[in-house]
């Protein structure tokens, strides 16, 4: 049989114009405003607050790294390089918003109201770290990559049903955008026009697997197209861009238009976690230097300094304050009561069943010896 000719040119369907997701930037690497139209409507004080929070996050990273190396913390996922992405996004929220962080999104949790001592307790492996007051609208850090996306869709549907003026906000990474739950989450939220803002913090690496190996898609934000929702790529080293896009996305979602997917292009300065990961094993030489030059603090520091809003003294003051805060928080965390297995058993069900009660009795007897 003669070979049949195919008349459809599949290659045309991959025309780059179909995937035009250009990166939103407000402030370039030199600290120059390149897109004044998108400049967020913020007072000088609010502009300074963004810097204070980024410096705080960077110093929290430094303190956490030191504490982890001293064995005073447990699991810790470094955040340096993602300050603009993390602070820029959380800064648009209010207490009406419900956040579902991943394990690297601890700065956002603290900014949303979790005491730092509790964040440290979570890292150390203590139940009090996840004991949130009812008023704190947040779910503890997610370990299963992508699970927070389907949950965020549910929270957003709930917010809509409750008629509250708020959103569900969640974050995953470039690796997370490959998970089934990622698609199910954005798809559910889209189908119900639920007020959710989903972030992909594309920091280049899922442990050792580079972004390029996650997908053939040119951008991660374009995955929004398949769910029929807006997708935006934003310079994740530019806090003004992250803030501007996040604010617009939150407003859009609250207005009843449905969810938004935001990809923040950032970089993980250093290791995946402090549990033995060494980026030198898999990252190309020189790439860290390349990204360090794009450091969100460098460009924003320059921008604010040029405006006369920032100084080395001011920065030093924030760093000192953060050091004191971390010192007090770790001290408090160290004083948390020893955990009891009997209490764990009591936390399994509202009312313990027969076999659980037997075990409670057994462990209480041991604990009271």
């Amino acid at each position: 049989m003669a070979e049949k000719k195919a008349n459809v040119k599949i290659e045309d369907l991959l025309n780059p114009q179909n995937f035009d997701f250009s990166t939103v930037q407000v402030l370039d690497e030199n600290g120059t405003i390149v897109n004044p139209d998108l400049m967020p409507d913020l007072s000088d004080e609010e502009l300074v607050k963004l810097m204070e929070d980024m410096v705080w996050a960077r110093e929290l990273f430094n303190r956490s790294t030191a504490l982890a190396r001293q064995g005073r913390l447990g699991f810790y996922a470094p955040t340096a390089g993602q300050e603009a992405s993390q602070i820029g996004s959380i800064s648009v929220t209010t207490e009406d918003d419900f956040i579902l962080p991943g394990y690297r999104d601890i700065p956002q949790l603290i900014k949303h109201g979790l005491p730092l001592s509790k964040a440290f307790l979570w890292s150390k492996g203590h139940v009090e770290g996840n004991n949130y007051p009812e008023s704190l609208r947040a779910y503890p850090p997610q370990i299963i990559i992508g699970a927070q996306y389907v949950q965020a869709a549910g929270v957003a549907v709930g917010i809509k049903k409750n008629g509250r003026k708020g959103i569900a906000m969640t974050w995953t990474g470039d690796g997370g955008s490959s998970q089934g739950d990622f698609y199910e989450g954005i798809n559910f939220a889209g189908a119900y026009k639920a007020p959710a803002v989903f972030y992909i913090q594309n920091n280049g690496w899922a442990i050792s697997t580079p972004r390029e190996l996650q997908t053939a898609a040119a951008t991660l934000a374009q995955k929004a197209v398949s769910a029929g929702i807006p997708g935006v790529v934003v310079d994740g080293m530019d806090i003004l861009a992250v803030y501007a896009v996040s604010k617009a996305a939150r407003d859009y979602a609250i207005a009843g238009n449905g969810p938004v997917l935001i990809e923040t292009l950032c970089y993980r300065f250093g290791a995946h976690s402090l549990s033995g990961d060494d980026p030198k094993r898999y990252q190309p030489d020189g790439i860290q230097d390349e990204w360090q030059a794009k450091d969100p603090l460098i460009r924003y520091r320059k921008f604010l300094t040029d405006k006369g809003l920032w100084s080395p003294e001011k920065e030093e003051e924030v760093i000192e304050r953060t050091k004191e805060e971390a010192k007090a928080a770790i001290k408090e965390a160290d004083q948390a009561p020893k955990q009891k297995v009997s209490q764990f058993l009591r936390n399994m069900y509202e009312t313990p069943d027969y076999v659980t009660q037997e075990q409670i009795n057994k462990y209480e007897a041991k604990e009271n010896k």
Partner: protein, 325 residues
């Protein structure tokens, strides 16, 4: 009192709880206008509106995640997983997320989710519809597993499950949906979770079972009665947590026990029941513990179901064996 099928009893329980508590929500694949593939939610969207009873996109993990999110927003979600063979797609939400939330959050949050799902052999479904997968859930701490064996129990247990502040997996055996009717009161009533039911009292041998195997066990008990053997049949009703007191009391009375499940020998909760009896009551036993279960293969192709599923005859043979031991 009206004679009702199990599916009708389930619909009635759902309607009662939708009426009683405006935080309850029913959602899943085809549960809206269509009333679910088995019509368990028939008419509920019409009566309670699309805000309370609604279809979802076809994605089980999405359904599970949505249930958790809605629970965090203060709702009492009653999602349906269309067939329990599809549970693998939503295992993370059920056992890694919902079941752990109370524990993780230091007992500060309720996760009152009731996941309903049909399962069970004997109705010639395609593969991955009928499997008895309750053991997978029952061995995961933090979640309850309820399996009614008749219409009356289904209604009372489902109302209790929905009112429970912990996640519950409520498994509905497809063969029981419409195979018989029985008296089911119109009004609301509850049957406590975690309590077994002595379906038939006896003194010689205890049969401990659940789901569709309750009927088979009762049939076996009737045959044995004619042979002069008095068989006690216990319907676990809830397979996690187990009603240890009822199990123990029966075993210590009869001294002989057969554990019966539809799940494969390596699956289900039978092994756990046997372990508890072994630890607690072994000195009361006058014969080895009998275990009737399906063989350790994948759930069979439809035409072979009859040869694979345990039945009253298998149970009766085992009882005789133990009686003569």
């Amino acid at each position: 009192m009206a004679q009702k099928t199990m599916i009708e009893a389930i619909t009635e329980a759902l309607a009662i709880e939708l009426r009683n508590d405006d935080r309850t929500l029913i959602f899943g694949e085809d549960v809206g206008k269509n009333g679910g593939v088995f019509r368990a939610t028939q008419g509920l969207q019409d009566e309670f509106g699309e805000d309370r009873v609604f279809n979802t996109p076809l994605a089980e993990s999405g359904i599970g995640g949505m249930a958790i999110g809605l629970a965090l927003e203060g709702f009492r979600p009653i999602p349906e997983i269309q067939f329990f063979g599809f549970v693998f797609e939503v295992m993370d939400s059920i056992v890694a997320q919902a079941a752990r939330t109370r524990y993780r959050m230091g007992n500060t949050r309720n996760i009152p989710i009731t996941i309903r799902s049909p399962f069970g052999g004997g109705v010639h479904t395609p593969e991955l519809h009928a499997d008895s997968l309750e053991g997978l859930i029952a061995q995961s701490p933090g979640i309850k597993v309820v399996i009614p064996s008749n219409p009356y129990d289904a209604k009372g247990l489902l109302i209790s499950a929905i009112r429970d502040n912990d996640p519950v997996v409520f498994l509905e055996h497809m063969k029981l949906y419409r195979s018989f009717r029985e008296e089911v009161p119109e009004e609301e009533y509850t049957i406590p979770l975690g309590k077994a039911n002595v379906v038939r009292e006896g003194t010689d041998v205890s049969v401990i079972t659940y789901g569709a195997m309750v009927q088979e066990s009762v049939k076996a008990a009737e045959v044995l009665a004619e042979e002069g053997v008095s068989v006690e049949v216990i319907d676990l009703r809830t397979v996690q947590p187990l009603d240890i007191e009822t199990i123990t009391a029966s075993v210590e009375k009869t001294g002989r026990v057969v554990v019966v499940q539809e799940a494969q020998r390596q699956a289900g909760v039978g092994s756990k029941v046997i372990a508890e009896i072994s630890e607690r009551s072994v000195l009361s036993l006058v014969a080895p513990i009998g275990f009737i279960a399906s063989p350790d293969t994948v759930f069979p192709f439809g035409q072979a179901e009859k040869d694979w599923l345990p039945n009253a005859e298998d149970i009766a043979d085992k009882i005789r064996e133990l009686k003569e031991f």
